[in-house]
C-alpha cells in the first residue's frame, strides 16, 4: 500500500513538473517565433546582415519564446514585473538605451565630410520623407495617428530612434517596429540599388565630385555645440537623442577627453547594444507579436525605406539643377540620406565603383549619411511633439 502511495505521489510530482515544462506549454505560435529567431541567426552568421544587432535580437527571440507556465507567476517572462528580463527591458520601455547608443554613435562619427560640404545636410532632410510617407500609408491602412507615427519612424533607418519613438507613441508596436527597422537596415544593400539604378542615368552615375576641403579642428569642435543649440532649440522633444549624439561628438573632437570618447564608442555602446538587441528580441513573445498588425508594420517599413531612398536620390538631382558643372553632386549619394550608417554610404561607394572603378564616393556619401542621423532625430522630435 505504501509503495502504491509513493508511486502515486511520484506520478503527481512528475505530472506537476510536466505542466511547468516548455513542451507542455508550447503553442504553434511559439514554434513559429523560434523558427524566425533561428532564421535571423542563420542569415546573420552566413550573410553578415548587421551581425552586431541581429545576433542579440535573434537569440533574444529564442529566449522570449520559450514557453512556460505563465499562471505559476515564476517571474521569468519579459512582461512579468520584477523579472530579470523585465528589469533589463525597462531600458527600452523607458527609452534609456537609445540615447546611450546615440552617445556612442556621436563619439565614433566623423562629421568632417558634412562640415566641408554643408549642402549635403539637405539630402539628409529630403530622405526623411520616408518617415512621413510611411505615416500617410499607415493612416490609410487604418492605424491611429500615434501608431502611424511609431511605424513611420522606421523610415528614419535608425534603430535607436525607432525604438525611442515607438516606446513613447505606441509601446504595443515596439517589438514589430524594432525588428522591422533593424531588418531593413540590414537589407539596405538589397533594397536600395535597384532604385538607385532606376532613378539615375549612366552619365549621372559617372559624375566625379570635388574632393572636400580639409576641415579645421575648431570647426569640428564648433559642430556639436552649434548643432545642438540650433536643432534642439527648434525641436526640444528630440533632446535626448540630439543631446547625446552631439555630446558624444564633442567628447571625440575636443581632443581632451579621449578616454571618455573611447569608453562611449567602445565598452558603453557595446554593452547597451547587447542589452537593447537582446531585450527587443525577447519582447517578441508570440502572444504579443504574431498579429496581423505586425505584418502590416513590416510591409509599411519596407515602403518607408524605398520612399526615403527615392526622395534622397531625386533631391540630389533637383539640387544639381542649381549647381555649376564642377560642383554637381553624384545622385548615387542620395540614398545615404536615409541614415543606416554606414551601410547606405557603402552602397553609394560600391555602386559608384561599379560604373567607374576610380570614382570613390564614400567620403561624399558619409555627409548625407550622418545628416540622416540628425534629420531622423529631428523628425522623431517632431512626431513626439505632435503625437505624444
Amino acid at each position: 500500500m505504501q509503495t502504491m502511495n509513493t508511486l502515486l505521489s511520484l506520478s503527481d510530482n512528475l505530472r506537476t513538473f510536466w505542466s511547468y515544462t516548455g513542451f507542455y506549454n508550447a503553442e504553434p505560435e511559439h514554434l513559429i517565433m523560434i523558427l524566425i529567431g533561428l532564421v535571423f541567426i542563420y542569415l546573420t552568421i552566413t550573410k553578415e546582415y548587421e551581425p552586431l544587432l541581429l545576433i542579440p535580437i535573434g537569440f533574444g527571440i529564442l529566449v522570449g519564446n520559450i514557453p512556460f507556465n505563465e499562471a505559476a507567476n515564476l517571474k521569468i517572462g519579459i512582461y512579468e514585473e520584477g523579472s530579470v528580463l523585465n528589469i533589463l527591458y525597462q531600458g527600452v520601455v523607458q527609452g534609456w538605451y537609445p540615447p546611450l547608443i546615440f552617445l556612442g554613435i556621436g563619439a565614433m562619427t566623423d562629421f568632417s565630410a558634412l562640415i566641408a560640404n554643408p549642402k549635403l545636410i539637405l539630402i539628409g532632410a529630403a530622405a526623411q520623407f520616408g518617415i512621413f510617407g510611411a505615416y500617410i500609408i499607415a493612416l490609410q491602412m487604418g492605424f491611429a495617428p500615434n501608431e502611424a507615427g511609431a511605424i513611420g519612424i522606421i523610415g528614419g533607418a535608425d534603430g535607436p530612434t525607432a525604438i525611442f519613438t515607438s516606446s513613447k507613441l505606441a509601446p504595443h508596436l515596439l517589438g514589430a517596429v524594432a525588428i522591422s527597422a533593424y531588418s531593413y537596415m540590414a537589407l539596405v544593400p538589397v533594397i536600395q540599388p535597384p532604385f538607385m539604378r532606376l532613378f539615375t542615368t549612366r552619365k549621372e552615375r559617372l559624375i566625379r565630385m570635388k574632393n572636400p576641403r580639409v576641415v579645421s579642428q575648431t570647426e569640428k569642435i564648433l559642430f556639436p555645440i552649434m548643432g545642438l543649440l540650433l536643432t534642439a532649440f527648434l525641436v526640444p522633444s528630440g533632446l535626448p537623442l540630439l543631446g547625446m549624439l552631439f555630446f558624444g561628438n564633442l567628447l571625440k573632437e575636443s581632443g581632451v577627453t579621449r578616454r571618455l570618447a573611447e569608453t562611449a564608442r567602445g565598452p558603453l555602446i557595446d554593452t547597451v547594444t547587447i542589452l537593447l538587441g537582446f531585450t527587443v528580441g525577447a519582447s517578441t513573445q508570440a502572444t504579443t507579436f504574431l498579429r496581423v498588425e505586425s505584418l502590416k508594420v513590416f510591409a509599411i517599413g519596407a515602403l518607408s525605406f524605398v520612399i526615403g531612398t527615392c526622395t534622397g536620390l531625386l533631391f540630389v538631382k533637383f539640387l544639381n539643377l542649381f549647381l555649376s558643372r564642377e560642383k554637381k553632386l553624384n545622385p548615387l549619394i542620395g540614398n545615404a540620406g536615409v541614415s543606416a550608417v554606414p551601410d547606405a554610404a557603402r552602397i553609394s561607394q560600391s555602386l559608384g565603383l561599379e560604373y567607374d572603378p576610380s570614382n570613390y564616393l564614400l567620403m561624399h556619401a558619409m555627409g548625407p549619411n550622418v545628416a540622416g542621423v540628425i534629420g531622423s532625430a529631428v523628425a522623431a522630435g517632431i512626431l513626439l511633439g505632435f503625437l505624444y
Binding site: 545636410i121 576641403r213 552649434m226 557603402r346 529631428v378 505632435f386
Partner: protein, 302 residues
C-alpha cells in the same frame, strides 16, 4: 578669432530675441488645486467622517515631499499647520495630488489640519515653504459656497491662462485626490484624427521643420566654413611659403613650379645659360584613407 567671437555674439543676441520676454505669471510648483468648504455627501476621511478638504497638486515632473511646509487660513499666522516631516505619504508623485481635511483635529494624523473653513465668509488658504515666509501658493474661496461644491482649477495645476488671468472657479465635477480634467484620450491624436485624417498636413509641417532645422545648420556651417578658409589662407600667407604665394596669386601650379625650378637652378648655379624646354609632369597622389580597399571589403549580401 575675432570674427568667430562676433558670430557668437550675434547668435546669442538672436537666440535671446527669439526666446522673448514673457510677462505671463508662471504656474507654481505646488498648487492648491481644489477645495470643498461644505462637505455633506462627498469624500469621507479614513474615520468615516466628512469635513471640508483641500487638495494640493504637485505641478512638476518630479516626486516632491510636501512635509515640512505650512498650510494656513490666516495670512498673519503663516505657520499655523506644519505638515509633518518624515511621513512617506507626504511624497507626492509628479502631477499627482495630496488631500488634507480641514477638521480642526490634527491629532487624527498627518492629513488633518488644525483649522476649518467657513462657508459664510471668504476663505483665504495659503501654502508656505519650509521657512514659513515664502508663499508657495494661495487661493481665495468666495463666501457662500454650496454644499458638496468645489472651487479650484478646471485643468490641474493650470492657475493662469495664456493671458495671465487666474482661472479659479466653481468646478462642475468634484474630484478629490484625482484629476480635475479627466483625459479619456490623447487630445493631440484626437485633433489629428478629426482635422488631418490623411496625414498630409502633418507631413508638410514636419518636412518644413526638418528642412528648416537642417537649413539653419547648412547656413551656419557654410558661413563658418568660409571664415575658416579665409583664416587658413591668412595663416599660410603669414608663414611665407610657396602655398602662401599660391593662395595670393592666380598663377597656376605649373607656372609656380617653373619659377621655383628656375630659382633653384640659379641658386645652385648648376648650368650655364642654355636654351632648354622645361617639361613639368604633374604627380597625382590618388591615395586617400577614403578609397582604401578596406572600405569596400564588406561583401554585399547574396
Amino acid at each position: 578669432m575675432r570674427v568667430i567671437k562676433q558670430l557668437m555674439v550675434y547668435l546669442f543676441a538672436m537666440v535671446a530675441m527669439l526666446s522673448g520676454c514673457s510677462t505671463t505669471p508662471e504656474n507654481p510648483e505646488w498648487v492648491i488645486n481644489e477645495v470643498m468648504v461644505v462637505n455633506e455627501n462627498s469624500y469621507m476621511d479614513s474615520y468615516g467622517q466628512r469635513h471640508p478638504w483641500i487638495e494640493i497638486y504637485n505641478n512638476t515632473a518630479r516626486t516632491m515631499d510636501i512635509g515640512g511646509r505650512y498650510l494656513t487660513n490666516d495670512p498673519d499666522h503663516p505657520k499655523k499647520y506644519a505638515i509633518p516631516r518624515g511621513d512617506a505619504l507626504t511624497n507626492v508623485k509628479p502631477h499627482q495630488h495630496i488631500l488634507f481635511f480641514a477638521d480642526e483635529m490634527p491629532l487624527k494624523g498627518t492629513f488633518h489640519l488644525n483649522f476649518t473653513l467657513d462657508s459664510t465668509k471668504e476663505n483665504w488658504i495659503g501654502l508656505y515653504d519650509n521657512d514659513g515666509k515664502t508663499l508657495l501658493d494661495e487661493i481665495v474661496i468666495p463666501a457662500g459656497m454650496q454644499a458638496d461644491q468645489t472651487f479650484g482649477y478646471e485643468k490641474d495645476g493650470l492657475k493662469y491662462d495664456e493671458e495671465g488671468n487666474n482661472t479659479a472657479q466653481i468646478l462642475d465635477r468634484v474630484t478629490p485626490s484625482s484629476n480635475n480634467a479627466i483625459l479619456e484620450e490623447n487630445l493631440k491624436v484626437k485633433y489629428l484624427e478629426e482635422n488631418d485624417a490623411d496625414g498630409g498636413l502633418l507631413t508638410i509641417t514636419s518636412m518644413l521643420v526638418v528642412f528648416l532645422g537642417l537649413i539653419v545648420l547648412y547656413f551656419f556651417f557654410k558661413l563658418s566654413g568660409n571664415i575658416a578658409k579665409r583664416m587658413s589662407q591668412r595663416q599660410v600667407a603669414k608663414s611665407g611659403t610657396l602655398s602662401a604665394v599660391r593662395s595670393h596669386s592666380h598663377l597656376s601650379g605649373e607656372v609656380l613650379a617653373a619659377i621655383s625650378a628656375a630659382i633653384y637652378e640659379l641658386k645652385e648655379d648648376q648650368h650655364d645659360i642654355e636654351s632648354t624646354i622645361l617639361t613639368i609632369q604633374q604627380v597625382k597622389r590618388n591615395f586617400s584613407p577614403w578609397n582604401t580597399k578596406r572600405q569596400s571589403l564588406r561583401e554585399l549580401p547574396r
